[in-house]
């Protein structure tokens, strides 16, 4: 079981797969509607709007209203995909997500577009690195971060039928295909590469980098397992416990703040074990990003294959 990301492999904007799948589903189920905040373009809803003009509810630049309207539609039997740039969807409408969606058990599909640092030079106002931490604190809300186009399609298909509140983090920063034909199962991770020295638990844009890191670590004699943690909540605790049992250390990698994101979630499980293993959490530290494009910012914060490999190799060779 191994997957290798070749250098120069084709990369994809997951919003394309998102929109194609949503349109396909909407053709078969007229309960599917899209709600957005003047983000028809950035949420890639142009095709949807053209084919289903009555089912695209653009409320304008009004995120609190947008999420409330989505809840009202969901509570009336519709399946709303509420789409907006992730920083504004989660930051501006956090209380609506808590009260109108999660607490009210409204089956809204919240679609956080262009998350992480996808908006690069537009700066920290437009970065969505806090979303995972904020949303993890909300009871009853599923959080899904697909790693590539195939998984995006599968997650969209699942969400349309789930009838449960969920947040999908839909990437804009281009990523290679990594999941192959592995099925997406909500609440479960998938093992993209087996290994017995160290486990890298990665999500979203970091998954392909983790696979590359594992390949490079193998050349140094370190065997790295790579888990694609595409559901952040509820977390696949079993896979994490198994990793802590079967490998000697865990590295987490996420394009999000390390204050409360995937790493913190994994650590909470690891330290509750009788014999915890050492961990390294890679992510954005508790600081605002400098000016730069996405690739540069990922480099700046050490969210690269090289840094993941270094963390894994260091942990494998330490006596901790």
């Amino acid at each position: 079981m191994s997957a290798v990301v070749e250098t120069g492999a084709q990369t994809y904007d997951c919003r394309v797969a998102f929109a194609e799948e949503l349109i396909e589903l909407a053709r078969a189920d007229e309960r599917i509607v899209a709600v957005c905040n003047d983000s028809v373009g950035s949420s890639n809803l142009g095709g949807f709007a053209k084919e289903f003009p009555d089912r695209l509810i653009n409320v304008g630049i009004a995120e609190q209203d947008m999420v409330g309207v989505g809840a009202g539609l969901a509570l009336s039997g519709y399946i709303p995909f509420v789409c907006a740039a992730a920083p504004f969807l989660t930051g501006r409408a956090l209380e609506q997500i808590k009260a109108d969606v999660a607490y009210s058990e409204s089956p809204v599909v919240l679609c956080g577009m262009s998350p992480g640092m996808a908006y690069g030079e537009l700066g920290p106002t437009h970065h969505s690195i806090e979303d995972l931490a904020w949303l993890r604190a909300i009871a009853g809300l599923g959080i899904v971060v697909p790693a590539d186009p195939a998984e995006t399609r599968a997650a969209v298909r699942w969400a349309a039928g789930a009838r449960t509140p969920v947040f999908l983090r839909i990437g804009r920063f281009k990523v290679p295909a990594v999941t192959g034909d592995r099925p997406f199962t909500f609440g479960r991770s998938s093992c993209l590469r087996d290994g017995d020295d160290v486990t890298v638990v990665a999500t979203g844009t970091m998954v392909s980098r983790a696979l590359q890191a594992a390949e490079e670590a193998a050349a140094e004699g370190v065997s790295v397992r790579v888990l694609n943690m595409s559901t952040i909540a509820p977390l696949d605790e079993e896979a994490i416990r198994r990793a802590a049992r079967e490998t000697r250390a865990i590295v987490t990698a996420e394009e999000a703040t390390v204050t409360g994101g995937l790493g913190a979630a994994v650590a909470a499980i690891v330290v509750s074990d009788r014999r915890p293993v050492p961990m390294r959490m890679l992510g954005v530290p508790r600081q605002f990003a400098p000016t730069g494009d996405t690739a540069m910012l990922l480099e700046h914060f050490g969210l690269t294959a090289a840094e993941i490999r270094a963390a894994a190799v260091t942990l494998a060779r330490s006596d901790a």
Binding site: V59, A62, D65, V69, A71, G72, L73, L75, D100, Y103
Partner: protein, 293 residues
Amino acid sequence: MLVADSSAAADWRRFRKELADAEPEHRREMLRRRANQSRTTDLAMIGRAGLGHVGGDMSVLDILTTLFFAVLRVDPERPDWADRDRLVLSKGHTAGALYATLSAAGFFGAEELETFAAPYSALNGHPNRVKVPGVETNTGPLGHGLPVAVGMAVAGRLAGSARQVFVVLGDGELQEGSNWEAAMTAGHRRLSNLTAVIDRNRLQQGARTEDTSALDPLDDKWRSFGWDVVTVDGHDHLALLEAFTATRGDRPTCVIANTIKGRGVSFMEDRVEWHHKVPTAEQISTAAAELAR
């Protein structure tokens, strides 16, 4: 989830039929008595629980009573009926008034009211749709009801349903910007199946609305957002009934219901401290005597 009380629901059906057949003045008297019974029930709940929002409960009860006992096409024994009218209580802190009303309509048994705010009760200090039939969405934080009601009205449109959506808002909560986002959406989309009812008692938690962040001219605000506006005496049941059932044009309707916080209890009326003060047993019995008139 609580379950319907068939016998109370049958009484409610009889009441509605009798009301529909009654002369206007008798109608007014029937609704006045019904609302005051709910006020007495609510005061007892608050006294027992040692908490509640008594002032706003008293001011909104004529609105809620008129809606549930004369207007809304709902069925207490089928709370999930898809084509029912919707009532969203945006001012969720007046849950006590809603619970007293829902119970009187048979959505659940009156004995449940005794558990208001007690440990593990379905009747939280703010309403929960997952636990209480007749509650359409969970409210409590202010400024949430109108956007959700707009979504419900859009859904009614999409479904080609005749269902009407009503949302009851406090006046103080109009200071939340989310309301005006939603007011724009409703005006822009000409949601004529949506009615916002403002419980205009002019008091918020700490002071008068006009001394805090003034709302007037409130009717002009709504009109300029694309709504039809009608202003009524929020304690005149016939005026409310007429406003709620008038033929709609092609715009959403805002009913500004001028009310008195603490209405019906002389020592509470229009006094800011009764926002969430808890009456003593003696005060409750004085209030009950006034409300029985």
